[in-house]
Amino acid sequence: MQLSREELLRAYRQMKTIREFEERLHVEITTGEIAGFTHLYAGQEAVAVGVCENLNDSDYIISTHRGHGHCIAKGCDVKGMMKEIYGRKDGLCGGKGGSMHIADVSKGMLGANGIVGGGPPIALGAAMAAKIDGTGAVSVAFGGDGSCNQGTVFEAMNMAVVLQSPIIFVFENNGYSEHTGADYAVGSGDIAGRAAGFGMPAACGDGSDFFEVHAMTREAVERARDGGGPTTLEFKTTRFFGHFEGDPQRYRAKDEVKKHRETMDALKIFRDKVTKAKLLTKKAMDEIDAEVLKLIDEAVEEARAAPPPTPDDLLTDVYISYEGGIQ
């Protein structure tokens, strides 16, 4: 399927926004202003965007600890996200969630999730809801190569096959779960192959190539919308930074990231393809780059200036109603 110019521009803008959001956070974190654990998504942009460009607001996704990319790709407000990461009162989650729990259910974004393997069962439920209501919506569970060894994920796969739920399991195989190689932790070495054993279509693709991700996902989404049940997609990708900010990455060959930045940069690859095929001009993309940089600048500035929550906020949002109140 040929993408329109507008679609291509939007995809590029989304990927660039993720990239700059993360590159900037990598710098800002060194100031000490950002608290907690931050896991950066840079390097994997083509997966989040290639998948989510097939979705609309009534579709669902659920994310992981490494959630910024999925949030942006699914349409979360970038400034609200930045404020959340800074722990501000008008952050997307009022400063209560932080980087690992950014969500916007109104956008079908059911949350980043700090529990590896926590998301797929929830995404399955959303898919079941879509099927019950016959909305044609689909649900996507993002996960890493490490997550695919968590029992909850296998259960979700089997149950999705049993119920023929419109769900797509997307595994971003960036080669590592924390400090352990996927070549060690995935016994069969083949995530998609394992999923196929569960009785669903499964395939593995290049996670640095937006077009490949987009096309493979399109097929899975169409099948799911048509009542064809679940699919698993594995995408080989890389992360440009450590597991979390501060990770010395002693498990990685010294020049690995440098090499991957040269050969697996989703933005470069996209630019090359669309300019070669004369689909977009360098200038159009440069303009987007400038706009994105400005947006990120503003987001950081506004976040830094925004007020933190007050101690009163501590006791709200636990329940919708609770007889006797919270103590």
Binding site: I62, G118, I122, A130, K131, I132, E155
Partner: protein, 338 residues
């Protein structure tokens, strides 16, 4: 009012709410039973204790969902259904199976709203069965509601009789927060009067079963019946009992308990769970803080011992708090001389 069993009352609540709100769905192992298999009988069980009987024939497979043995995903999928606008009821056949689904209960359902800054709701009900009385041994008899009561963001209901079973379950299903609903296995056959039609019992409002001046007994779930028996024994000794069933342990009706202890000056808490970090000790501690000045005797907790649930009849009987032990504890508080 009709006389119904606890099981029938729960079943009625499910039927009423399924009828009333098409967003209500139920999922779990054998909630209908008969998926696959060779008999062709599509509803082969209606729940292993029969509580969900009749739902499948009436409301269909889209809303009455049999699942594989995958508790993390029974609760997890219920969470996703709830986030997506449904009112799911997840069934864990035994409370002990909290073990294989704990993450989705405590780290997901209970925390979404807070983590997401109040911008979502997760109206899931997790129904389960608990308690001794069937010699089901260590892995099928635990109470475990103290563990859930500990967790902020989820509510805990524990009906002790058929009317409350109906009224609390309807309230749970309509509640916009996650609720864990503990049904006592040994109460399913218990009969009682149950109001007809729409009947809701509010959360956080204790039931004061008897008024009395000498000692307050707070009892939970099946223990309410044991406390009633103890009350009769105590009456013979002229000891007046104020008997309180909190109905929900989260929220907890502290006020009813504190008011009563202010009157009686004495407290016994009866909880069939293990003692450490139990609801019994939780309530005792609240009273030792907030009604200290009224207390005229040590607060007694009557609980199971700090042991797993044993199998043999004699041992399970010794394990479970008994009317005798409750009466003895109450008597000790009354006879206490400072």
């Amino acid at each position: 009012m009709a006389v119904k069993t606890y099981r029938e009352a729960l079943n009625e609540a499910l039927h009423l709410e399924f009828e009333r709100d098409e967003n209500v769905v139920i999922l779990g192992e054998d909630v209908s039973g008969g998926a696959g298999g060779t008999s062709g009988e599509r509803e082969a069980s209606g729940g292993i204790f029969g509580v969900s009987a009749g739902l499948l024939p009436r409301f269909g497979e889209a809303r009455v969902i049999d699942t594989p043995i995958s508790e993390s995903n029974i609760v997890g999928a219920a969470n996703g259904l709830a986030l997506a606008g449904k009112r799911p009821i997840a069934e864990l056949m035994f409370a002990d199976f909290i073990g294989v689904s704990f993450d989705q209960i405590i780290n997901q359902a209970a925390k979404f709203r807070y983590m997401f800054g109040g911008r979502t709701r997760c109206p899931v009900v997790i129904r389960t069965t608990y308690g001794t009385g069937m010699n089901a041994a260590a892995q099928h008899s635990q109470a475990l509601y103290p563990v859930i009561t500990h967790i902020p963001g989820i509510k805990v209901a524990i009906p002790s009789n058929p009317a409350d079973a109906k009224g609390l379950l309807i309230t749970a299903i309509r509640d916009d927060d996650p609720v864990m609903f503990f049904e006592h296995k040994a109460l399913y056959g218990k009969k009682g009067e149950v109001p007809e039609g729409e009947y809701l019992v509010p959360f956080g409002k204790a039931n004061i079963l008897a008024e009395g001046d000498d000692v307050t007994i707070v009892a939970i779930g099946r223990m309410v019946h044991f406390a009633e028996k103890a009350m009769k024994t105590l009456a013979k000794d002229g000891i007046g009992v104020e008997l309180i069933d909190p109905r929900t342990t989260s929220p907890l009706d502290e006020e009813a308990i504190l008011d009563s202890v202010e009157k009686t000056g004495r407290l016994v808490v009866v909880d069939e769970a293990n003692p450490r970090c139990s609801v019994a000790r939780d309530i005792a501690a609240i009273v030792a803080d907030k009604a200290f000045s009224s207390l005229r005797a040590p607060i007694k907790c009557v609980t199971a011992p700090h042991t797993p649930v044993p199998f043999a009849r004699e041992l399970e009987f010794a394990y479970t708090p008994s009317p005798d032990k409750i009466a003895a504890a109450a008597k000790a508080t009354v006879e206490f001389a400072a």
